[in-house]
Every structure is written in C-alpha cells, then in structure tokens.
Amino acid sequence: MPLPAFPRCLAAVLLPAIAILLTACGEGPWNSPYPAGAASGRTLFASFSERPKHLDPARAYSSDEFRIIGQVYEPPLQYHYLQRPYALEPLTAVVLPTVRYLDRDLKVLPDDAPEAAIAYSEYAIRLKPGIRFQPHPAFVRDSEGAYRYHALTDEQLASIARLDDFGELATRELTADDYAHQVKRLAHPQLHSPIAELMKTYIVGFRELADVLKRDLDAKGPGTVLDLRDYALEGVQVVDAHHYRVRLHGKYPQFRFWLAMPFFAPMPWEAERFYSQPGLVAKNVTLDWYPVGTGAYQLIENNPNRRIVLGRNPYFHDEFYPTEGEPGDRESGLLVNAGNRLPFIDRVVLALEKETIPYWNKFLQGYYDSSGLASDNFDQAVQFSAQGNAELTREMQAQGISLETAVAASSYYMGFNLLDPVIGGLDERHCKLRQALSIALDYEEFITIFMNGRGIPAQGMVPPGIFGHLDGPRGINPYVYDWVGNAPRRKSIEAARQRLAEAGYPRGVDAVTGKPLVLYLDITARGPDDKSLLNWYRKQFDKLGIQLVLRATDYNQFQQKMANGNAQIFQWGWNADYPDPENFFFLLYGPNRKAGLGGENAANYQSERFDRLFERMRNMDDGPARLEVIQQLQEIVRHDAPWIFGYHPKSFALHHAWFRNLKPNLMANNELKYQLIEPAQRVARQREWNRPRVWPLLVGLILFFAALVPAWHGYRRRQRASAL
C-alpha cells in the first residue's frame, strides 16, 4: 500500500536517521560515557563530586585534594600500604629519619634525656639519589643554560592555554633544596597554609621567617612575588644535595607523621618561578592547579568543570610492591604482585559527578571501577549477616563486586560549649547534667537510622586503630555504658533521669525556679534529609523532659557563633591528620580553645589536670606508660563530658572484580600506584551489562504514526468535501 504523501515524507526523514543511529552505535555499549576503546586501556575510571580547591601542597588539606596530589607529590615518608597498625616507611628518604635531641646550647643529648633538658630536636633526612621530577616546561633550559619559559612573552603566551601547549619539557634531579624550599613556602603569608600557625610553634625560625616575609610583602605592595631562595629558615639546613635537617623547638615526636603528608613534599623553585608569571595566572595555569612532583603520576589535564586526568610519570623512580603485609593479605590476593615494579595503572580519569543517581548507576553499569556507598544505595548493595557483619547482597555478588570496609580515624560528636552558664562549668552538678544527656542520646539508634549501621558508637576520644584505643570492658565509657555479657550496653534512661535529678533538674524542671529546662542546639541544616535528623534529636532530649530548641543557621553564621563562643550545643567532627592519639586529645586542650583563641577546641574545655596530663602524653613514645596516661585522660573527659562521644564512621567502598589490590588505608593518600586494572575483563563485563533496548522506542514511534493516520484520512475527506 502506498503511503499517503505526508507520512511518506516523514518516513523519508526518519528512517535514515534511525538507520544512522543504529550503525553509529554498532560497536560497544551505547551508553558508555567514554570514547570507544577507552575501557580496553589500563585506565582507572573514577569520579569526584566537588572540584578540589587547592592542589598546592602547602595549601591542600582535605581528602579530595590529597587524593590527587598524593599521587604527584612525594614527601620523604609514606605509610606502608598493607601493614596494620599504620606504620611509616621511607619514600624518597633512604631510611626513616634519625632524631637527635639538643640542649639549649645545641649540645647533643642522649636519646633518653629528660624532657625538660631537651631544647631542640633535630630530624636528619637522607634522600635516595637519582629521583627525577616529572617532565615539565619549568625545567627547560636553552643552550646557554637560561630557563626558556621563565619569562614568557605575549606572543608565546598567545598560543598557550594549557600546560601541554608548551613545546618542550625537561626534568631534573630531586635535591634536598627542594624540600627546604617547600618548608619555607609554608611560612609564606600569601599561601595561607593551614598548618602555618602550628609550625610557628615548632620549626625553629619559622615564625621569624613568616614575619620577615609579611614585612617585605607589605613594603613592596601586594602584587610582588618574593623569591624564597633569598630568605633563610634557621630550622631547615641543607647539608648536601641529598641530606637535610629540620630543627624543632622541644620534643615533638608527631613530626614524623607530618613528614608523610604533602605539606612536606619537595617543591622546585623553578616551578614556583614559572607559575608566578602574570600571563599564566590569567589563564588559570598556576601551581595551585598544576602540581609538579616526583610521584608515580603527573597531572595531565585539569578541567575542574569536567574531569581531571592523571598519567604515568615517565621518570618515576624504582619502587616495588610490598612483599609482606598483614596476616590474611596473602589469602585475599593482595600479595599477588609482591615485588613488581610500580605503578600498574597507566592513566586515571576522574570525572565530575555531582548527582548520586547517575554516579551509582554508572558504577552498576561498569563505567566506574569503584564507588563509595551513599546511604541511599545501601540496602541495594549490602546486607548484614547473622553475626552482624556487612556483606554484599546476592545481586552485587553476582556482578562480581567486592566490598571493603574500615573504621575511619574520625570522630563525630555533640559538643557542649563549656562557657555556657546552663550547660557549661566543670562542677559536679553540671558534669552530671552532661552525663545524663550522654546517656539519653542513643547513638546506637542514630547509627541504625541515619548511617545504615555504618559506624560504631564512640566510647571516648580515641577511635579504633589508633594507639590508646582499648577494646573490651576496660575501654568503655563507664558513665554511659555497662559491660553486659560481652558487649557494652547503654545505661537505661532511668539512670539518666536519676543523674538529671542529681544535677538539679528532676524531670527536666529546674528544682529551684520551677521552670522547665530549655536547651539550644546550633545546627547547620541544609537538605530536606536534615528534617528527620532534627526531629530525632528533639525526641532524644524529650526522653528526659528537656525541651530542645533547634537553631538552624547557615554554615557561616555557625562558624561565627563558634568563634565567638555563643553556641550552646553543637555537632562537630574531626578527621585525624595522623594516627596518633595526640591528634584527638588536643581537641580538648585548654590553650587550644576556639573562643578568643581560634583553636580547634570547639567546646572551650579547660581543665588543668587534663592539660597537664596531655602535655605529658603528647611527647611520650608509644608503650605501656603512654597507654596508662591516655586512660587517665579518657577518664577525665568521660567524667567531665565536654562532648557526647558520638560515633566513629565506617567507610564502605565497592569495587568491580577487574579492579585489584585494594585495601582501605585511611592514612596513606598515594594508594593509586599499588592498584591494578584488568581491562579485558572490564570490556567483556561492560558489554554484557549494557545491552540497549530499542523496541520501546520503535513501538512509541509506530503508535505516534498510527494516531496520525485516521486524522490524515479525516483531513483528506474534508479536503475532498470542500473541493466539491
């Protein structure tokens, strides 16, 4: 049957279009978000949800930033990939740094010298020779030895939009000067290094350097660029090309952990000079966006609007997969590549993915090799075994997905502002009040409802995995928990009411004035999900007959309030910088108060006994004596209850079968070089999981035209009628 004219012309347009569509998509899955063939390379596909703010090692301080620069910059030390508890090992250093103690007159003291006698400690770091930086235009020199790209002309700049537009690249050997240069950068007032204030109290001459730099900057006006090579830092001495020393005030054993963080990575002066050219700054080509390091990877493309691409550093030095790990690592296949040369993955493509739906779906379709686990996808992926262990659901197992879990070295808590007249104060009455609240706030329920069980209730300051944490009956918070059977059990609400009465508020009413007790929780509420959370808090306080007023503010107002010490109750969290209990207890150290002093002690807690013990504990070496002091500290804060110890989150991560050598390491940030992709398996699975279904579309099209046909006939009839 010949088609009527109108549908015929439509068909003439549509049929070829469909045909083109069908042929164009002939190879590979249609819905792959990558160019054809990308999956068959040794490329890791992952995502980032928010663009990293800083990639300058002096400024970066969040995990999403470390995740990138950790692969590029190499501080002298690193954490062993497999060993637990976390242990440091040399990275660019030959061995772990040696420490010697000096007295006031710079005379060397024996290692067991009393702390009072130690005026300085000195870390000596020896570097491996022959380590080279990634190829970079900043190192390129012409035949006379002058740097080719350090004074770019406008003509040269015109053809440059990104780093790979430079014609030539060069490298040079890593020296101790580069490390010294970076420490000086930490003092630079314009870089706002988050650890500058801390280092002022430790590194000898650091404060003075910062002051001099500030003075010179003010004198020369804001636009000037200072060459840090003209300035000396007393505490950092370069002995020779592969040997430098850092001198600190007093004893600070935690310094070795800082040496494993990117803050102390090497920075070639050439790079800083290169990137300070105004022409490049105007093109967003800066050190804060394009790192220059010695690590296994180099940043190839940095388009924070879409993707960040890392590629292998061709000059990466010899490094090998660890040959030993924790017991059980061999069985779980983590030692298959023992002794092989690193890295295994050639390229890493991090795509911007802000919405969790597409992210999760793409992971299930095989387009991301690994995925975190948001609470919305949790039920789909994970179930709990009868023993309470998390395991994957059957569908996930069928896809060959594996699950890794680890308790994060973080603590989330509800803090009380100790300066507040109602809730604060260290007398017995107020401590009782806070203890009562500690019992009433049922964090077990919180974890079930809001975290899908991905956390463990905190018993004190120290999370598991950090020295000082105790399991079993000795490790519980006796003011909130009882040890029943073989597990801690939260005290009954009756016990809380009892304590509240002792605090002077029987049934939540002030025994003196007869007025009900009203407390205020300052909170930054953002999404609709927070609503249920707020209701939950209110219910918890209601159990004691206490009215909770929620003061929801935005982030800025909240920060302002905290800085002024105006909040009453607040929630806060802390991610450890390094695996040492000092990094947690300092959050309650008196001289570290937030109000007025701007420290991290948000509760403004100040107890002389605690401060004295803390000062002793922080410089001790791990051992039974330190453990004892830590337990005393725990006892003090459990009794005084400046915080309601909330929970330590557990991180859950999923990955596909073709992604290997994954072991959660919450301290290390250079794990990428150990990991491995098997592309063949990935390609096969992606194809299998993504079969396009076209028929509903075709059915829809047919229905649409079917609906037109009677109308067409009606129209023809009318035409004929009017023509007659």
Binding site: A374, D529, D530
Partner: protein, 464 residues
C-alpha cells in the same frame, strides 16, 4: 489549646477575604458578570474549580494553627511547636511513623533486618511494620482481601457523604429556581442545567469515593508508603498542599500593588515617570531571576540568624522563609503584568471618554480609579490565574537548588528533591515521587484549565 497566627496564615486569610469581596463586587456589575457566566458554563473550568476548592479547603484547615496542650506524661517536645487543625485531625498519620521505607499498603518493611527467632537466634528478613497492616495476623493471605474490604467500606462512606451533599445541592437549586426537586434531579442527571452540575457532581463523587477509601485505608496502612525515616508520605503530600497554595497566592501581595500602581502611572502620566518605571522594570527583568531569589533567600537567613531570639521555633523560621520566598517571587514577577498594564493604559488614556473626563476637570486619581482601573482589571485577573500554576511549579525547581522553602517545610519541591535519589535504589523507591507528582499535577492541571477558561472569557480579543 492556645491559638496562634503565623504571618502566612494571616496573609492567606486576607487573600481569601479579598477574593471573596472581589466576587461580591463583581457580581453586582453586569459587564463583569457576563464573562464569568461564560466561565461558569465551561465544563473543564467548573470541574477544575471543584478540584481547586477541595485543595483550598485543605489549605485553609492547614492554616489554623495552635499550640497543643502539653499532655499529662510531661512530654515537652511538642509544646513549643505549634500544629495546625489539619495536623490535629490527621494526628494518626503524623505520629504513626515506621523505621524506614515501606511500600504503599505494605505490611513489611522495605529493607531486611535482623529479627530474633523463636529459638533465640537471629534471621535476616523483612520485619513487620509497626503500624502498616499491623492488625493482620497473616498478611500474606489476608492483606489483599482486607485492602479491598476496607476500600469498599471507605468508598461507600464517601459515596454516602456525596449523596447527602448532592441532595443538598439539588435542594438549593430547586429552591432558587422554584422548581420541584424531582425535575431538578432529572435535569442535572441529563446534563441540561446551564452550569455543568452533572460534571461537577461526578467530580465530587470521584473525590468523595477516593477520599473516603483513602481515609479508611490510612487508618491501617500507609497508602503512599513511608519515606526514609518512616514518615507517612500521604501526610507529607497533603501538608504540601498549603505550601503550594501559599506560593501561588501570596505573591499577589507584591505583584498586584507594584504592577497596578507603577503600570497605571507609567501609562497614564508618561514622561519622566514612564521613563523611570520602565528603567526600573527593565533593570529588574534583566537580572536572572534565580540569582535574585538566591540572594534574597540568603538575606533572610542572615536576618534570622542575627535575630534568633525572635524565631525560637522551627515552625516560625520556616514560616518566615516561606513568606519571604513568596514576596521575592512577587518581586521578580510583577514586571510582566506591569508592562501589560502600561501598554493598555497608554491605549485607554487616548480614548474619548477619558479625554472627555479630563476636559471636564476630573482629577487624575479619579480618572485612574473610575475609568482606567475597571477597564484593565481583566488583565490583572488573567495574569493572576495564569501565574498561579507557574509559581507552584517554580517552587519545586527552587527547592532543588536549595533556595526554595525551608528544608523543614513540607512541600512538593522538597519531596521531589529528597526522593530523586531514591529512584536509584533497587527496587526503586518510587512512591514519594509518585505521590508528589499526582498531587502537584492535579493542582497545576486544574489551575491551568481554569486559567484557560478565564482567559478565553475575559480577554476581549478572544471573546467570540
């Protein structure tokens, strides 16, 4: 029980009173009655009106707030948060929360849990819900039957209510027409009344039967399931009605005065006043509206943070944010109407009767009030009804960018915003999204149909 009046409550009632007054005024003028008669004869418009009336009733009941008395157990939590009459009536829906998601009409939770078994061990299975289908002994065998029986019972009750209402309406028509009631019923049934009573009553029947069934079901089930923290979705979506209505109506408090005063002034006085007003609205118009709204919403947050003793309760904060959102939406919305009014006034002022009035020495405000305003009023009406649905839709989008209503306010936008992640679950959690969709779609569709009819009737260019 201590009654309290929120800002939005007060303004909402003011809008209703003003609308009522307007209806009374217009009833007395023939040239207004004629187009409205056309509207009242249009079946879609009147059916929509019935639907809108039902939404409006819910919104009104939800706008009467009071502090509940603290109950004897000494529970303090509720005492500083006011609730509405609707909350009071739907008390069961509000308080019967499960632990987490459950499907519509489910008796079991959406996610598996550890359940203690009889022999002291644990098994990993779907737990029974605390409230949903809790009266059933064996849900597998009884549930479907129970749902059907309850549904029919509820529908029957709804039908009964409808019969009473329909009889009342028939009696009223009969009285005003002075006809025997039997004939009236006959004519309504055959669709021979000037007003489309048959269609309206059928719509009402549908709403009564559906509402009755849902009411009966909701006593024992979660008709639209529960959300992430186990709150009843039906309750949320009913509560969202008020938010939607407020956003659609309260904006008129800004748009109407601004557009009327400035539009008429610009068109009538021309000269520098015209230039200034045109400048004003072009400037405002040229700023992308989303950004203007974002700035204004952040402004309210700062204001509230600086005066927090005045906003002790969450409800009060949420209310103020809603009010500000309405006002700022009004501020971005008046320019279109203003431009139309200006153009119309420019035309009108040249007409003979206006010129004559001016020649006779009638003062400007007299001319504006008596001659120009009544003649541009149809434009105002059309624009108000046309804007309504757009504003309801805009709320959802703004909530997505986090610059809409307060996160604690129930609104369709917030429901969609939190539910969009749920579709990624397996099996997908579709019910929050579906409930928000159905309720929002119904309101917007009704509003659109009604607005179409109003425009067709009032716009002289479209009148036949």
């Amino acid at each position: 029980m201590i009654p309290t009046l929120f800002w939005t409550d007060g303004l909402f009632f003011l809008v209703l009173v003003m609308a009522g007054a307007l209806v009374l005024v217009m009833r007395r003028r023939e040239h207004f009655r004629r187009p409205w008669r056309t509207v009242s004869r249009s079946t879609p418009a009147m059916v929509s009106l019935v639907v809108i009336a039902v939404y409006l009733a819910v919104g009104i009941v939800d706008s009467v707030h009071f502090f509940p008395r603290a109950d004897a157990a000494g529970s303090a939590a509720g005492a500083n948060e006011p609730i509405s009459l609707l909350d009071h009536w739907l008390g069961g829906l509000r308080t019967r929360t499960e632990k987490t998601y459950s499907e519509p009409f489910a008796a079991y939770a959406y996610a598996k849990e550890h359940l203690p078994t009889a022999d002291g061990g644990q098994r990993w299975d779907y737990p029974r819900l605390t409230y949903g289908g809790a009266h059933l002994v064996d849900p597998e065998s009884e549930r479907v039957r129970d749902i059907a029986v309850t549904g029919v019972r509820g529908a029957g009750q709804g039908g009964l209510m409808w019969l009473i209402a329909a009889a009342g309406i028939a009696a009223l028509i009969a009285r005003s027409r002075r006809e025997p009631i039997g004939r009236v019923v006959h004519r309504v049934a055959r669709g021979q009344t000037p007003l489309p009573w048959r269609a309206m009553l059928l719509t009402l029947l549908l709403l009564c039967v559906g509402g009755g069934a849902i009411a009966e079901w909701s006593a024992h089930y979660h008709v639209f399931g529960t959300d992430k923290v186990g709150a009843d979705v039906l309750y949320q979506t009913i509560k969202s009605i008020r938010t939607g209505l407020l956003i659609g109506t309260l904006t008129t408090f800004v748009t109407l005065p601004l557009a009327l005063v400035l539009g008429l002034a610009a068109g009538y006085f021309r000269g520098w006043a015209d230039d200034l007003i045109q400048y004003l609205y072009t400037t405002l118009n040229s700023i992308p509206h989303v950004l203007l709204i974002a700035a204004a919403i952040l402004l309210t947050q700062v204001y509230m943070a600086k005066h927090e003793e005045a906003f002790a309760s969450l409800a009060l904060r949420a209310d103020l944010r809603l009010l500000f959102l309405c006002l700022i939406l009004g501020l971005t919305n008046w320019t279109g109407l203003c431009r139309l009014l200006r153009a119309e006034t420019l035309k009108l002022r040249e007409l003979e009767y206006v010129q004559a009035a001016r020649a006779l020495g009638v003062r400007d405000h007299g001319i504006l009030l008596r001659h120009i305003l009544p003649n541009v009023f149809h434009i105002v009406l059309i624009s108000v009804v046309l804007d309504f649905s757009g504003l309801v839709l805009a709320e959802a989008v703004l909530s997505y960018i986090n610059i809409g209503v307060d996160p604690t306010t129930e609104s369709w936008g917030n429901m969609i915003n939190s539910a969009r992640l749920e579709l990624a679950r397996e099996p997908p959690v579709w019910w929050s999204l579906a409930a928000a969709f159905v309720f929002m779609f119904t309101l917007v569709l009704a509003a659109n149909l009604f607005a179409d009819a109003v425009r067709d009737a009032l716009d002289p260019r479209r009148a036949d």
